[in-house]
């Protein structure tokens, strides 16, 4: 404890609060006891986490939480959602307000080391790109010298943007907003020449434009944005469960197990990998402190990775994003999960 830290904490001490609370132990036990997973999501990003008009949460990031609940309780609906702004997300995780942060969050060294959190994996490989109005006549990000750029505050996007323009020796003017909604509105009104964000979001945000066909995404991808769920440090049991729930969805796709065929495979399949996966033999669940049917429950109730992808952002969704990098490693992408054995 150095003096600086004491001073820093001291600055917070003009405030007086009263609090009474119960003491909670490790996350894993606490979640088991309360009977649901508290999941931190975004305040609304189509395809990743957004509430529909009935208040049901849907999306790729939501499915991760549902998978964890399925593994833990055998019931994917045992999740409660906390919508978070980009600003609050890490604090909410650190303070124990949520058990998993699954909110299109980029895995970076700084976040992994200085915030007291662990990233459990990558559920979407993304990269930052640019979207412009076609009327601007720009074909490449290299032509953007002097452009005004709309960007959302509190993300790695802002930093990558500055880095890219600096490395290209170009000037730019950033206009920074708190919410993606305000960012799109300003871009649509013509406040900026360019909207920058992760590619997946650009497609999601494009449907919010008055004339989606009038905007195009430029080919350049200027950063690596591995998005994934994260948990608090200091509870490896919980960390493992989240990590392997995500891997189970990928492995299920790899083994060809879907929510449709999972019951028939469970009874008929002679493939030892599949039998191990579905808990017919092997006792994988015991090692994690959950039931042996954990992976079966995930696939049955949430689906495998490709089902989740297609339903939320892929061919069965309004976003129509192609698998690209997120295809499995043996199908031209880089999604690769360690084996369950």
């Amino acid at each position: 404890m150095n003096t600086l830290r004491w001073m820093a904490v001291g600055t917070a001490f003009s405030f007086a609060m009263a609090a009474g609370a119960a003491h909670a132990g490790a996350t894993f036990d606490a979640v088991k006891k309360k009977g649901y997973v508290q999941c931190g999501v975004s305040t609304g990003l189509p395809g990743f986490s957004n509430a529909d008009d009935k208040g049901q949460w849907k999306g790729m990031d939501v499915d991760v939480c549902r998978a964890v609940a399925a593994a833990m309780f055998g019931d994917a609906s045992k999740v409660r959602y906390t919508p978070l702004t980009a600003k609050e997300r890490f604090t909410a995780l650190q303070s124990g307000e949520i058990d998993i942060l699954s909110r299109n969050t980029t895995w970076t060294l700084t976040r992994d080391t200085s915030l007291g959190i662990n990233f459990a994996g990558v559920n979407y490989y993304d990269g930052q790109g640019f979207m412009v109005k076609k009327s601007l006549g720009v074909k490449s990000a290299k032509d953007l010298n002097g452009a005004t750029v709309c960007v959302q505050a509190g993300t790695t996007t802002e930093l990558n943007l500055a880095d890219y323009f600096r490395s290209q020796h170009m000037q730019f003017k950033p206009v920074t907003f708190d919410t993606s909604d305000a960012t799109v509105k300003a871009f649509d009104a013509g406040r900026c020449d360019v909207l920058t964000s992760d590619q997946s979001q650009l497609y999601a945000l494009r449907i919010l434009l008055a004339n989606p066909a009038g905007a195009e995404v430029l080919p350049e991808i200027i950063s690596k944005e591995p998005l994934g769920p994260s948990v608090r440090q200091g509870d490896d049991e919980w960390f493992n469960l989240v990590k392997w729930s995500l891997f189970a969805m990928l492995d299920a796709e790899n083994l060809g197990i879907t929510s449709k065929n999972v019951d028939t495979l469970k009874t008929d399949s002679k493939n030892p990998s599949i039998q191990r996966f579905l808990g017919v033999n092997g006792g994988m669940g015991k090692l994690m402190g959950v039931s042996d049917e954990w992976a079966y429950d995930i696939v049955k109730q949430v689906g495998n990775y490709s089902e989740s992808f297609d339903r939320n952002v892929g061919k069965d969704s309004p976003l129509k994003i192609r698998r690209g990098l997120n295809a499995l490693w043996n199908e031209g992408g880089i999604q690769y999960a360690p084996p369950i054995r």
Partner: protein, 396 residues
């Protein structure tokens, strides 16, 4: 328990518990102990929470490179600057919008407040409608409304509205020519300063002379001549050391000149309109507080209406106006933090927004931000209290 006294007729000595001074001391000690215990408890929780979550805290991050851009900065700033620099940039932008807002809101409030008392029925009605409308709608809504309404209404850079080659207005902002002082321009500034000093001296002299002789001396023309003439003469004598940098369209945007970004415009418009509605009410009640007899007495002494307002009504109205005006100014400065809703890079948006997100140093950053606003509030209060003492009624 008090000790039994020997003399049964002597009044019983009160026990020490019923001594009010002792009780006050004990009570205060208890309160202090309770407050310290609470603070200590919070302090302990924070420290242990930070320890446990492995969050590194301290002021060290202020020297790290920020790595993000800021759209408007009055001091040199690039993405290679430090986080500490972002704090200064935000602070300067907050001060800018607050200062402009205070000036504009005071002027507009004064006009509307006087219009509210106008003999002209229509003007008075309109002023009343203005006040009741803008006072009763949340400021945040007004800020958002102006921003998006302004954005929707303005043309793109290539279809700018322009005044010749000098000024342009489009969705990216208002572009004005920027004066670039040349060699020896400092002398012109010096001449202006001398002129101001002369004018102040002249007015004092005229006032003294009028008290002595009763002869009024109209300083207005001489003052104007001094203020305009002296710098102009020096300026011409030095061969006009001033050039203008004109805005011009290069690629996507205009470069050169002074830019006023729409975020600033919208925030300023909203702050001005909202605060002016409160200031107008304050001005109105201040003027109404001066009894009509004062005006009548001044007229019967032969003062003309202008002098009556200047020497009799306003000084007395100011006593009523200044204290609530102070709190309006404080509100305006605090309300400027709504910038975060529309992306104007003020302290809350840049420092308590982006910097907080990039570093995660919530405790230090929020503490610093609150400290800044507290300091600003204290400074404004001190200044206005000093001014208030000058105009306050001096009683026996």
């Amino acid at each position: 328990m008090s000790s039994p006294s020997k003399d049964p007729l002597a009044p019983a000595r009160p026990n020490w518990m019923s001594n009010p001074r002792v009780r006050a001391l004990i009570f205060q000690a208890l309160v202090l102990a309770a407050v310290f215990a609470l603070l200590g408890y919070i302090f302990h929780n924070t420290v242990s929470n930070l320890e446990q979550r492995g969050i590194t805290t301290g002021f060290g991050f202020l020297d790290r490179e920020a790595g993000f851009g800021i759209i408007q900065s009055l001091i040199p700033y690039t993405p290679a600057s430090t986080y500490g620099r972002t704090f200064l940039v935000g602070l300067v932008n907050t001060l800018l919008v607050s200062a402009l807002g205070i000036v504009l809101a005071t002027l507009l409030g004064l006009i509307i407040g006087i219009a509210r008392l106008s003999k002209n029925w229509l003007i008075a009605r309109l002023a009343a409608i203005y006040i009741e409308t803008f006072r009763n709608i949340p400021l945040l809504l007004q800020v958002l409304f102006w921003y998006f309404a302004v954005l929707q209404a303005l043309p793109s850079p290539r279809q700018s509205l322009s005044i010749g080659e000098w000024a342009f207005l489009n969705i990216r902002g208002v572009y004005l020519p920027e004066p670039v002082p040349g060699q020896g321009f400092g002398w012109v500034v010096l001449a202006l300063a001398i002129a101001v000093a002369l004018v102040i001296w002249l007015r004092r002299w005229a006032h003294r002379r009028q008290l002595r002789t009763g002869q009024p001396f109209h300083t207005i023309y001489v003052s104007a001549g001094l203020l305009l003439g002296l710098p102009a003469v020096v300026f011409l004598f030095l061969g006009m050391p001033l050039t203008w940098s004109l805005p011009s369209l290069h690629g996507f945007n205009f470069t050169g000149g002074i830019t006023m970004i729409p975020e600033l415009t919208a925030l300023l418009v909203a702050l001005t309109i909202y605060t002016a509605s409160s200031i107008a009410e304050i001005v109105r009640s201040g003027i109404l507080a001066v009894s009509h007899g004062q005006t009548e007495a001044a007229y019967s002494l032969g003062l003309n209406p202008g002098n009556t307002t200047r020497l009799v009504v306003l000084p007395q109205a100011l006593r009523v106006i200044v204290p609530p005006l102070t709190s309006q100014y404080l509100n305006l400065v605090k309300n400027s933090s709504l910038a975060t809703a529309i992306g104007y890079p003020d302290l809350v948006n840049v420092f308590a927004g982006t910097t907080l997100n990039q570093t995660g140093q919530a405790v230090v950053i929020i503490g610093m931000t609150m400290g800044v606003y507290l300091t600003l509030s204290l400074l404004i209060s001190l200044f206005m209290n000093w001014y208030n003492q000058r105009v306050a009624l001096i009683e026996r």
